[in-house]
């Protein structure tokens, strides 16, 4: 099988790797580059747990051909924290109990980051729209939405 050289930036550092033709980005990140933070959930683009940012846009890495990220910038949860300092989203997810089994969390965090990078003061509806492609089977959506809103620095003010 022919191999293609691909060069891109992963969480700010430059990477180069030979990939099989047709290999998906998720496999290349996990097996090829050892970044295990994006997870495999369905392989069909329905669950969202493999979400990564490609040039700031949330993308499903299981459906992205690895060759297409040539020269682009890829961000995963592995690069979210600044050294030992967690990203505000990570802190709020921790404080707000916004994860149970944790398997959807990497995708949720990347979808949320894509939103907050563009819109620092989103409404609840905008948050729900932003994570609408991410499935949480433990169904902790409320606490996830709350955590994202808190991370955006907005008081939730949710009526009981």
């Amino acid at each position: 099988m022919s191999k293609t050289p691909v060069q891109f930036s992963l969480n700010g550092s430059s990477k180069a790797i030979f990939v099989d033709g047709g290999a998906n980005l998720l496999e290349v990140l996990r097996r090829g580059l050892g970044d295990l933070t994006p997870k495999y959930g369905c392989g069909q683009g329905t669950c969202g747990t493999c979400t990564v940012l490609i040039d700031g846009e949330p993308r499903l890495s299981c459906l992205t051909l690895a060759e297409t990220v040539e020269g682009k910038s890829v961000n995963t949860v592995g690069g979210l924290a600044d050294g030992a300092d967690l990203h505000p989203l990570q802190n709020e997810f921790m404080e707000g109990f916004a994860a149970q089994c944790g398997y959807c969390t990497p995708g949720m965090l990347m979808s949320a980051k894509a939103l907050l990078d563009k819109n620092s003061n989103p409404s609840r509806e905008e948050v729900m729209e932003a994570i609408s492609g991410n499935i949480c089977r433990c169904t902790g959506y409320e606490s996830i939405i709350d955590a994202i809103l808190r991370a955006a620095g907005q008081r939730t003010g949710r009526a009981v």
């Binding site: 933070t37 994006p38 997870k39 495999y40 369905c42 109990f97 994860a99 409320e142």
Partner: protein
């Protein structure tokens, strides 16, 4: 969450502990790993030379396997090994055999007859997943399609095809005596005759797939010390370990299982389907092997919550008092037992719901059909019958023209009441729940019900008594299929006798241990048997024990076997002719490592704490 109210005041006099945690946010101990993406799920372990395992699965509901031809697949690029049914050292198991419950009925790879769509036949181990998938397609299996049955009530008819050869009547054998689990409390038939109204209902729930985000799977690899490490997403690590040891005829000391980080399970990851096959693949190839369901397999083959059908018949007085309740339950176990027979034991212990009803009877069937085998899911065994009971309560209320909340309070169990499984109700709070629900829903209750309490009125008079109980012997193993008896228990039920009021039931007798190592000897921690050392007393129907004095009720004896937690009504006390029981599984020879003490269990090896 703010939408939840904690009403600890309802239990203030029953629980003096205050952990000062409930109702307050807390930080999960594992959440740092979750938010940094570093929690080690089974697939987050990298191995050089990882091989991929894929199964050829049955395309038919029910078919005899005539031949398997793997010749072409074996020559395909990247294929390392094709695992056939005869490669599995001990290719027959049932999940709960580890606790002596049920007979072995399921092969890891099926070589004779497939009984549901997706049943694995052969497994291909190849260098890449794509190569494994292609090789699976190249395996030729010749099937002889057999008639199939998908509805449990159809499966119980005499003409229905036999789904599971180990249970040729298509029903699980309870206590080696009946084709269903019985519960008898009082005399429902007589109470129906005296009741003002009879209300009947039929309720049904479909199977539900747990659909965890992380699909079921495992990675196994040879370790340098002649052991196998297995990273797995199982919810039941020791089930998986014991099942692997049994299926592979391998000492458990050679298995190093690592789990505990589960990407969502909800009950669907207890069946131990992946670990044995992954370890066998690693054993046969000498390389790390990953066996994982893809999403389609997860939905088609992953065991769901089973379908259930319940028939409920109530005898109700005009004032709303329910005087008798009869259940007929049908569980669709799918093709193999897994956890369904045990779910029925749970369901029966739950009847008749949170209500005090003086006459209760129930027959519940565990039926084999050509569907995906069912397993655990969140409260399985309880959820469907609770749904049915509460839907039926609404039906009774409609029939009587009563407020459904008041109907529930009228019949609610209260502290100290005797339940149908002959245990006292305690810490009850249905009445308080109903009152809060009525208040939230804006339903006005009459003062009689608005001021009622679970602490009042229970445990007195007939509410605490075990009534005289009528027994029958309908539904002996095999009878129903021979004579096409309807499933409804009480049609044609042969009257067997009566058990005196106050009889709590036979002495709890544990099934004989398969292995003497499992026998808890007197003097060892955990021994709860008779103190005179004469062994459990045989039940004696002619001499029912004296009615118990309520105040001197001994603490409930919890026994380790699910079978013995069941209500064991006295009518099965008669010693039956035991059905022929296949010999429990024993390895042919002692495992070649570990403990060699004479007489030691063949499943145990290495040092062991006594």
């Amino acid at each position: 969450m703010s939408s939840i109210e904690f009403r600890k005041d309802l239990f203030a006099d029953e629980r003096d502990d205050d952990l000062k945690e409930i109702g307050k946010p807390t930080i999960r101990q594992d959440i740092l790993g979750h938010v940094t993406g570093r929690s080690p799920y089974y697939d987050d372990h990298l191995f050089d030379g990882l091989l991929h395992l894929k199964c050829l699965r049955s395309p038919h509901h029910h078919a005899k396997i005539r031949s398997i031809d793997t010749g072409e697949a074996e020559r395909m690029p990247g294929v390392k090994r094709i695992i056939k049914p005869q490669d599995v050292p001990h290719n027959l198991n049932t999940l709960l055999s580890l606790i002596n419950f049920g007979r072995d009925d399921e092969a890891m790879l099926q070589g004779n007859k497939v009984s549901y769509i997706g049943e694995p036949v052969v497994a291909v181990v190849a260098e890449t997943e794509l190569q494994a998938r292609k090789a699976v397609k190249a395996v030729r299996v010749e099937y002889e399609v057999l008639p199939h049955v998908l509805d449990p009530e159809e499966a119980m008819k005499p003409e229905a095809p036999v789904v599971n050869e180990v249970y040729p009547n298509n029903t699980f054998d309870y206590h080696e005596l009946y084709d269903h689990q019985k519960l008898r409390f009082g005399d429902t038939e007589r109470a129906f005759q005296a009741a003002d109204n009879i209300v009947e209902g039929r309720y049904q729930l479909s199977p539900i797939e747990q659909a965890p985000t992380e699909t079921c799977g495992a990675i196994a690899a040879p370790e340098t010390n002649d052991r196998y490490v297995c990273y797995t997403g199982t919810q039941a690590l020791f089930f998986s370990l014991g099942t692997t040891a049994k299926l592979l005829d391998m000492a458990s000391s050679r298995l190093h299982f690592v789990g505990g980080t589960v990407g969502g399970g909800f009950g669907g990851k207890v069946d131990s389907l992946h670990e044995p096959l992954a370890v066998l693949g690693a054993h046969l190839t000498g390389q790390p092997v990953k066996y994982v369901f893809d999403r389609q397999e997860e939905m088609q083959v992953g065991a769901p919550r089973g379908a259930e059908r319940w028939y409920i018949k109530d005898g109700v007085m005009n004032d709303g008092q329910i005087v008798a309740r009869q259940f007929t339950g049908v569980f669709d176990a799918g093709a193999y037992s897994r956890l369904s027979p045990y779910a029925i034991i749970k369901a029966t212990g739950h009847l008749p719901g949170p209500y005090t009803i003086p006459n209760v009877s129930s027959n519940v069937y565990c039926v084999y059909t050509n569907r995906t085998p069912a397993t655990a899911m969140r409260g399985f065994g309880i959820t469907a019958v609770d749904f049915s009971i509460e839907a039926h309560m609404d039906k009774v209320a409609t029939h009587l023209g009563m407020n459904p909340i008041e109907l529930r309070i009228r019949n609610s169990y209260r502290d100290g009441d005797m339940k149908a499984h002959r245990r006292l109700a305690k810490n009850t709070a249905l009445i308080e729940c109903c009152q809060v629900a009525a208040q939230k829903a804006g339903v006005r209750l009459s003062p009689e019900f608005a001021n009622d309490s679970s602490l009042k009125g229970g445990g007195i008079g007939s509410r605490i008594e075990i009534p005289e109980t009528v027994t029958d012997d309908v539904g002996k193993i095999g009878d129903r299929r021979r004579s096409n008896t309807p499933i409804h228990p009480f049609e044609g039920a042969g009257h067997k006798g009566k058990v005196a009021a106050g009889t709590r039931g036979e002495q709890v007798i544990a099934a004989p241990a398969q292995d003497h190592e499992m026998v808890i000897e007197p003097g060892r921690d955990g021994y709860r048997g008779p103190s005179n050392g004469s062994g459990p007393l045989p039940p004696d129907e002619t001499q029912p024990s004296a009615p118990m004095e309520p105040q001197s009720q001994p603490p409930v004896v919890q026994t380790p076997l699910p079978a013995t937690q069941s209500p064991q009504p006295p009518q099965i006390a008669q010693t039956p002719t035991p059905a022929p029981q296949p010999e429990p599984y024993k390895p042919d020879k002692l495992f070649d490592r570990g403990l060699k003490r004479p007489g030691a269990s063949r499943f145990i090896s290495g040092s062991r704490r006594r």
